[in-house]
C-alpha cells in the first residue's frame, strides 16, 4: 500500500512532462513555419547588403558585422517616420469611423427585427465581391471631389468601405449575445431604446468593440492599391505604399531597409494584439455562441 502511495505523484508528473513534450513537439513545425521567416527578416534588417549576396554563407547569421545602416537609410533617406505616423493616424480614424457607423448598424440588425434586415445584411457582405482593381477609379474621382488627393485623409474616407461590412457583421454577432433581459431592465428604468444601447449594451460588449477595432487596424494596414491611386506625395504615404515605392528602385531592392520597415510596424502591432488577445478571444467567443 505504501508503494502505491509513493508512486502516484511521480506518475502524474511523468504524465505532465510527457504531455508537455508532446505538445511542444507538435508545436515545433508551426512555430518554425510562422516564426523563421520573421527571424530571417530581423537578421536581414541589420545585415550589410553585400552579406546578403554571399552564396554559401549562413543566411541566419552574420558573415560581415551587423549594421544599423539600414535603419539609418529608413529614417534619414526616406520619410519612414512620416509613414508610420500616417499609418497609425489612418488606422485610428478608420477604426473610429467603423465603430461609429458599424455599432448602430450592427445593433439595428441584431436587435430591432427590421424587415429587409436579412437582405441588407447580405447586401453589405456582397460589397467584398466588387473588385478593388476597378473600384479604385471611381473612388479616385470621389477623393478628388473632396479635395483630398495626396493627403492621408483620402484613405480615412475610403478604407471604411473595406472595414464597415465585416465589422457590422461582427458587431451584430456580439450584440446578439447580450442577454435581452439587461436591455429590457434598462428600458423599464426609463432609458428608451437608444439609452439602452449606450448605457447597457455597449459596456457589456466591449470585447466585441475591441475585436472590431483590431480588424479595422489590420485591414487598413494591408492596402496598397488605393494608397497608390490617391497619394503620391512621399510624406503622406502609409507604410506599405512608402516602403514598396521608395525602397525598390527598379532592379535595386533595399532588402535590409525593407525588412526593417516591415518589422518596425509589424512587431509593435503584434505585441499590442497579444495584450488584447485574451479579450479578443472572449470577443469571438461571444459571436460564436450568438
Amino acid at each position: 500500500m505504501a508503494t502505491v502511495a509513493l508512486r502516484a505523484p511521480r506518475t502524474h508528473r511523468q504524465k505532465e512532462i510527457r504531455r508537455h513534450v508532446l505538445i511542444y513537439l507538435g508545436l515545433i513545425p508551426f512555430l518554425v513555419i510562422a516564426v523563421f521567416p520573421i527571424f530571417w527578416m530581423a537578421i536581414t534588417a541589420i545585415k550589410q547588403d553585400s552579406d546578403l549576396y554571399l552564396m554559401g554563407a549562413n543566411p541566419f547569421w552574420f558573415h560581415l558585422p551587423p549594421t544599423w545602416k539600414n535603419f539609418d537609410i529608413l529614417f534619414r533617406q526616406t520619410s519612414y517616420g512620416d509613414w508610420i505616423v500616417n499609418t497609425i493616424a489612418v488606422a485610428f480614424w478608420v477604426s473610429a469611423i467603423t465603430l461609429a457607423v458599424g455599432v448602430p448598424a450592427g445593433y439595428a440588425l441584431a436587435r430591432l427585427r427590421l424587415p429587409f434586415a436579412e437582405n441588407l445584411g447580405i447586401g453589405i457582405f456582397m460589397t467584398y465581391l466588387v473588385p478593388a482593381i476597378i473600384l479604385f477609379l471611381p473612388l479616385a474621382r470621389v477623393v478628388s471631389r473632396l479635395q483630398l488627393q495626396d493627403s492621408w485623409w483620402a484613405m480615412v474616407v475610403i478604407y471604411p468601405t473595406i472595414t464597415i461590412p465585416f465589422c457590422t457583421w461582427l458587431l451584430m454577432g456580439f450584440f446578439k449575445t447580450v442577454p435581452l433581459e439587461l436591455e429590457e431592465a434598462a428600458m423599464l428604468d426609463g432609458c428608451g431604446q437608444a439609452g439602452a444601447l449606450v448605457r447597457v449594451v455597449l459596456p457589456v460588449s466591449w470585447p466585441g468593440l475591441i475585436t472590431a477595432v483590431i480588424f479595422s487596424f489590420t485591414l487598413s494596414m494591408q492596402d496598397f492599391l488605393y494608397a497608390l491611386a490617391f497619394v503620391s506625395v512621399s510624406d503622406q504615404k502609409p507604410v506599405p505604399l512608402g516602403v514598396a515605392t521608395e525602397l525598390i528602385r527598379g532592379d535595386i531592392y533595399f532588402w535590409g531597409s525593407l525588412m526593417a520597415g516591415a518589422l518596425l510596424v509589424g512587431v509593435p502591432v503584434a505585441i499590442v494584439y497579444n495584450l488584447f488577445l485574451d479579450k479578443f478571444i472572449a470577443g469571438i467567443t461571444g459571436a460564436a455562441i450568438k
Binding site: H20, I23, G26, F30, L31, A34, P37, I38, W40, L52, N58, V101, P104, A105, A108, L112, R113, L114, G121, I122, G123, I124, F125, T127, L129, V130, P131, I133, I134, L135, L137, P138, L139, T161, G173, A194, M221, Q222, F224, V239, P240, A244, Y253, L258, G261, A262, V265, G266, A270, I271, Y273, N274, L277, F280, I284, T285, A287, A288, I289, K290
Partner: protein, 327 residues
C-alpha cells in the same frame, strides 16, 4: 386608439372621409412602438447603408457598366457592347488558366488554412507553460503588412539565394546549388502555384487558429463535462459538441476569407506577376494587367467580375442557411 377624426364633419362625402380616415390610421400607426422601432432601426442603419451604397454600390454599378462597354483608361464613356467583353475573355486560353488557378488557389489554400489552423488550435487549447508567448509569436505573420512580408518571401524563394534551399541543402534533403534537385520555387509551374498558395496560408492559418481556439474555449464546460460523463472520447466530443457550436463562426470566417482571397492580387503580383507562362496567373492579376496596365478597361472589368455571378448565389445561399440555423 383615438377617435376617427374624419367623423367630426359628417357633411364631407364618403370617399374623402375614407381617405382621411385611412390617413389617420397611418398617422396613428406611426406613433406605435413598431413604427418607432423601425424609424430608430433604419436611422441607425442609415450611415452604414449610405456609406456602402455611395462608395461601393455606385462604383459597382459603374464597374458593371465598364464591363459591358468598350471603355479604355483614356475613354471611360464608351459604347455599350453587351456581353462582348465576357465572350472575348472566354476566348483566350490564358483566361481558363487563370480561372483554374484562382479556384485551385482559393480552395487549396482554404483547406490548408483550415487543417493547419485546426491542428494549431488543438494544440493551443491545451494548457501548458508558455502558451501566451506562443500565441503572441504565431500572430506576427498576420500583423506584418502584406506588401512587405511578401517581398521577404520573394527573397526567401529566390533561385540563387533562397534561405529555404540553403537550409534544406544543409540538411542534405536536396542537392547543392546548381544540381538538378535544387528547387526553383517560383520557376517550376506547379511549385510556383504552391509557393504563392503557401504564402497565403502562412499569413492566414495562425489567425484561423486563434479564431477556432476562441470558439473551442467558448463552449461552456458543463456541456463538455456532460459529454465526458456520457462516455464520449475527445474526438467524439469534438465532433458532436464543439463543432456544432463553433460552426457559425467557422462559416463566416471561411466565407470572408474566401472572398478576400479571391480578390487579392498582391501575393501573386509581387512574387511572379502571373508567370512563368501563366502558371500562377489568377483572375485579379489578369484583370489588372489587361485593364489597367494594358488600358483595356472594359475587358479588365469583365475579367474581374467574372466570378461574381457564381459567387453571389453561393454567398446568399450560405448566409441564408446560416441565419436559419441560428433561429
Amino acid at each position: 386608439m383615438g377617435k376617427v377624426t374624419a367623423s367630426a364633419s359628417p357633411k364631407q362625402n364618403g370617399l374623402l372621409a375614407e381617405v382621411l380616415s385611412g390617413r389617420a390610421e397611418r398617422l396613428r400607426w406611426t406613433r406605435t412602438p413598431t413604427a418607432r422601432r423601425y424609424l430608430f432601426g433604419y436611422t441607425l442603419l442609415a450611415p452604414a447603408v449610405l456609406y456602402v451604397t455611395l462608395l461601393v454600390g455606385a462604383p459597382f454599378v459603374f464597374s458593371l457598366y465598364l464591363a459591358m462597354s468598350d471603355a479604355t483608361v483614356g475613354d471611360p464613356v464608351a459604347r455599350f457592347v453587351g456581353l462582348e467583353n465576357f465572350r472575348a475573355a472566354v476566348e483566350t486560353s490564358v483566361f481558363y488558366t487563370a480561372v483554374r488557378n484562382t479556384l485551385v488557389f482559393t480552395v487549396g489554400a482554404g483547406i490548408l488554412k483550415g487543417l493547419l489552423g485546426t491542428t494549431l488550435a488543438f494544440l493551443l487549447v491545451q494548457p501548458f507553460k508558455g502558451r501566451k508567448f506562443v500565441r503572441a509569436l504565431v500572430v506576427i505573420p498576420f500583423t506584418l503588412p502584406v506588401a512587405v512580408s511578401v517581398l521577404g518571401w520573394k527573397w526567401m524563394f529566390d533561385s540563387q539565394f533562397s534561405v529555404i534551399n540553403w537550409a534544406l541543402s544543409r540538411l542534405h534533403l536536396i542537392g547543392a546549388y546548381g544540381s538538378p534537385d535544387w528547387p526553383v520555387w517560383l520557376g517550376q509551374p506547379a511549385l510556383a502555384l504552391a509557393s504563392v498558395m503557401f504564402v497565403n496560408v502562412w499569413r492566414g492559418f495562425p489567425f484561423g487558429a486563434i479564431v477556432l481556439l476562441a470558439g473551442m474555449t467558448s463552449v461552456p464546460p458543463e456541456i463538455i463535462e456532460a459529454a465526458k460523463v456520457d462516455g464520449a472520447n475527445f474526438l467524439q466530443r469534438f465532433r458532436m459538441v464543439i463543432v456544432p457550436m463553433i460552426a457559425p463562426i467557422l462559416f463566416i470566417g471561411t466565407a470572408f476569407d474566401t472572398v478576400f482571397t479571391l480578390s487579392d492580387l498582391s501575393i501573386v503580383y509581387l512574387l511572379t506577376n502571373g508567370g512563368p507562362d501563366g502558371a500562377t496567373e489568377i483572375l485579379p492579376t489578369l484583370a489588372y494587367n489587361t485593364g489597367i496596365r494594358g488600358g483595356a478597361l472594359g475587358r479588365g472589368a469583365a475579367i474581374s467580375l467574372f466570378l461574381f455571378p457564381l459567387l453571389l448565389p453561393a454567398m446568399i445561399l450560405l448566409l441564408r442557411t446560416l441565419r436559419r440555423r441560428q433561429y
